[in-house]
Point group: D2
C-alpha cells in the first residue's frame, strides 16, 4: 500500500440505465450512477478512487485492478447472478489477504458477501418509501466517528430482522423503521486479514448516498477497512521442524513415508 | 426430526484403501474405515446412524439421505477437490436450515467447512507422531460434559495456530503439542439455524478415534448439533405489509412500479 | 439440583406498596406484587418456585435460600442502593458457580447486574406509555422457542440504545419503540459457569408481566439458565505438578523458596 | 487528550522491597522496580510516562493523576486486598469513560480486573521456572504488529486454562508451557468506551519485562488502548422527548405523575 488508500467502487450499474420510467427516476437521483455519486462524495486527499462496473472487460475487476485495490466497495442488486464465480473466488482471496470490503445495501445478497459470511444473508424487506432512523450503537467504533447518536433517512426501503449473518458481527449501527421493523444496519467483521463492513442504508430510488451522515459512515469505513500492513503474501502452512524438542518416538517411523511427505 | 437423531457419517474413504504400506498401516488401525470405527463408537439408543462414502452413487449423499439427516459428520483429506460443488451447495443449504455439521480433523480444508466459514481455514501442521494434550477450556459447554479437564493423545499430527477461522467460534478445547504449538482444537459455531463443531483430534495413521475421550466429545457434539426444532422450511423474506402504520408519503408513489414489484 | 429447577423470584417490592395514587395504580395491576404475578405465571411441574423481597430478613436471600436456588429472577428499581454489598458478593459468587440469573427491566441498573457485566449498563429511557414491538432476532435460541417472530406491547417505558453492556451478549430480542428508539431487549451472557439473561419488557405501571409472550420468554429463560451440572464446588487453582516433563532448570532453584510457596 | 498519550504505570511495589533472599533476587532483576523497568522500556516520543505505587499518598492515584491518565498499566500480586474499594470504583468509572487499562500478569486477580470482567478470573498456576512459548493468534491485531509468529520466554511462572474470563475477549496471544499447559495469554476487551488488554507474561522473579518482544506487545497495547476521542463526559441518559411522533395514548396520563418524574 502506498501513502494513499486505493479505493475501487464497484457498481453493477443496471438500475441507473433502465429504459423505463423507473430508470428515468433513478437517473434523476444518480445521473452519474451510484458509483459516480460515491466517488464524488468520498473524494479526499488520502484516497485514490476509481470506479468499475459490471459491463467493463472482466466485469471491471481484472487482476491489475484488484491487485491495486486496498478497499473495494460493492453495490449490486438485480445482477448478482451475473458476477462470475471465478471473480468471486479472486475477491475472496484478496479479502482474506487483507483487502477491505464494504458491502452496500442490496449487496447483502451478492455472491461475494454470502461467500464471506457462509450464511444465507436473508432478511425481511419492504418498499414503501418509509422513514428510517439509524442509531449509533457503538459510538466508540472508528466507523462511528463524527456520526450523530441517531439520524433520520426520510425515505428508504425497509430491511428487517431476522438478518442471517454470523454472530461475530460487531454492531455499529441499528436501524428503526416507521413500519415497525428493526435491523442491524451497520455491522463489522474480520475474516483472516480482511476487514468487512456491511451498511444497509442506500436504496437506488432514493437520494440516500447524498446524505452527509451516510457518506461519513462510508468514508470512515474505508479508512477502517484499509489494510494496516498491506496485502499479505500467501502463507506457507507446513511447519516441518518443531520449535520445542520432541522426544516421543513416532510409531510411524518404521514406515518409509518419504514419498507421501514429498507430495504434501 | 423423529425421536432418534439421524446421524450420517461421511468419509472420503481413500486412505484406508491405499495400495501400499501406508494403506496397510491405516487398515490395521481402521479395518472398517474411519466411518465404520465412528459408527461403532457412537452407537446408542438415541441415535440412528448410517455411513456414506465418496465412492457411492451421488457421492454418498443423494437427496433422500441428506433430507433424512439431522447431523452430518465429515471426514475428508486427500479427496477434498473431488467433492461436487453442487453437493456442497446442498449441504450448506441444509446446515443453514438446521442440520448439524461435525467437521473432523483434516476436514478443516474441506469445501463444506470453508464454505460455512468464509475464511481460508489454514493452519500449521507437522507429522512427527508427537504427543498432544487437549484442554477443556469451557467445561460448562454441553460438548465438554464428562470430558476430563485435560487428556493426552500419545501420537498425533500437529495442527497449530494461526488457524484462520471467524472469531465467533466458541472455544471448547485448546490443544498443546510436544513440539511447541498450540491450537483451537474444538470450536463451536452457529450459522443461521445450524450448529457446526470442528474437532481436530483424529489423524488417519493413529488410533485416535479409538480414544474414549475423543469418542465422548464427538458423541456430545452430535447431541448438541441436532436441530432442536427440526429442519426449517425455506423462509419467505418479503414483508409486504408493515406492522405499524406508515404515514410518510413515498415520493415513488407517483410512479407505477407495480410491474417492478411483481417481479421481485 | 434435584429433579425440579428451584426458582427464587426476588422483588424489591416498593412501588407496589406506594402510599399515593401511583401506588394504587400499580396495585391495580399487580395486587400480589410483581413477584406474585410472576410466580403464578411461571407455575409449572418442573419448577419449584418461591419469592423473596427486600423487606424480609437478610433481604430475603439468607444462605439457606441462596444455596437452594438454581435460578434467581431479579426485579428492582428505586431501591437498588439498599441492597447490601455483601449480598451482591454472595449472589455473584453463586452465579459464577452456576446459578442462573434473570435480570428484569429496571434491574439493568441493579448492583448485581452491573457487577456481573463490569460496565455502566446505562441506556436512554422515556416514560410516555408508547408502543413497543419486540423482534425475535435469534429464533433458534432456546429462549425464543414458541415466541412469535414479533409481538407488540401496547404501552411501555422506552429503553433505548446506546446500552452499555459487554459485546458477548448473545442478542435474542431487539425492540422497536413508537417514539423512534431501538434496544437490545433480550440478551444472554455466560459468566464462568453461570448463565445470565437480561430482558427489558416489564415496567411496573403497565400489565406487561400479564402478557403471555413475555411470560413465555421468562419461562424459557429459567430453563435455559438452570445449571446443567448443579452448582460447582470452589475450584482449587494451584497446579503444583506438571502434566508433561519439565527439563528446563529453574534459575530460582538455588533459592530456598519453600517458605514462600507454603504461603501461596 | 493532548498530543502525547499520558501513561501511568502502577505497581504495588512490594516484592521488589522484600527483606529476604527473594527480595534480593528480585531487586537483582528489577533494581528500580517493575514500574521503573517498564517506564524505561516504553519511553518514546509519543508517550508521557509517569509511575505510581501503592505506598504513595492516595495509593498513588489521586484524582489529579487519574484525571490526567489516558492509559493505566497495572501490576499487582500480593497486595491486591490493600487497594481501596473507592479507588477501584474511580478507576472503573474512568475506564468506562475511555481510559485504557493494561493489566499485567498476576493483575488477573486484582480488584480492578475482576471488577471490569465480572468473573472470577481464576486460572491454574505453577512456579517451576519452565519454558513458555507465546503464539500470535491474531497477527492482524494492532497489538501484534512487529511481534513474531511465536517467541520463547526461557523461564516463567505457568498460568493455565481454564481461565475464567468473559467470552468476548479477542484472543491476540496463546501460550504454550513446557509442563503441558496452554493459556489465553493476551486478550483484548472493550467495556463501554474503554479498551482493556490483559497480558500474562511478566513474573517478578524472572527478567521477562526485559524481553524486547514483551516490551513490544505492551507498547503496542498502550497505543491501542489510548482513547481515540479523549475521555468522555458523563452521559445523561434521560430522553424525555421522542424523536418520532407518539400517537398512542398513555393510560397513565390520567394520573398526575409530575412529582414522580421530577425525582428521576
Amino acid at each position: 500500500m502506498g501513502s494513499k488508500i486505493r479505493v475501487t467502487i464497484w457498481n453493477e450499474f443496471v438500475h441507473e440505465r433502465g429504459n423505463d420510467k423507473m430508470g428515468e427516476w433513478i437517473r434523476g437521483i444518480y445521473p452519474e450512477g451510484i458509483h459516480g455519486c460515491l466517488a464524488k462524495a468520498l473524494a479526499a486527499d488520502d484516497l485514490e478512487i476509481r470506479t468499475a462496473t459490471l459491463d467493463m472487460p472482466e466485469q471491471g475487476l481484472p487482476a491489475e485492478v484488484l491487485d491495486n485495490t486496498d478497499v473495494l466497495l460493492w453495490w449490486g442488486h438485480c445482477a448478482h447472478a451475473q458476477v462470475d464465480d471465478a471473480l468471486v473466488d479472486r475477491i475472496q482471496e484478496r479479502v482474506l489477504h487483507g483487502m477491505g470490503l464494504i458491502v452496500l445495501h442490496s449487496g447483502h445478497m451478492s455472491k461475494i458477501f454470502r461467500r464471506m459470511m457462509g450464511t444465507s444473508c436473508r432478511l425481511h424487506w419492504r418498499e414503501a418509501g418509509e422513514r428510517e432512523r439509524v442509531w449509533t450503537v457503538d459510538p466508540f467504533h472508528p466507523i462511528a466517528q463524527g456520526v450523530p447518536e441517531s439520524f433520520a433517512i426520510p425515505h428508504t426501503e425497509m430491511y428487517g430482522e431476522r438478518f442471517d449473518i454470523p454472530q461475530d458481527g460487531h454492531i455499529v449501527f441499528l436501524s428503526w423503521y416507521e413500519g415497525g421493523n428493526v435491523f442491524r444496519s451497520g455491522v463489522a467483521f474480520q475474516r483472516d486479514a480482511g476487514h468487512i463492513f456491511y451498511f444497509s442504508p442506500g436504496h437506488e430510488t432514493y437520494p440516500i448516498y447524498h446524505d452527509p451522515n451516510v457518506q461519513r459512515v462510508i468514508g470512515n469505513a474505508v479508512r477502517w477497512a484499509a489494510p494496516a500492513n498491506g496485502i499479505l503474501p500467501g502463507r506457507v502452512t507446513r511447519q516441518r521442524d518443531s520449535l520445542e524438542p520432541i522426544t516421543t518416538r513416532d510409531p510411524m517411523a518404521q514406515l518409509d513415508t518419504s514419498e507421501l511427505h514429498k507430495a504434501l
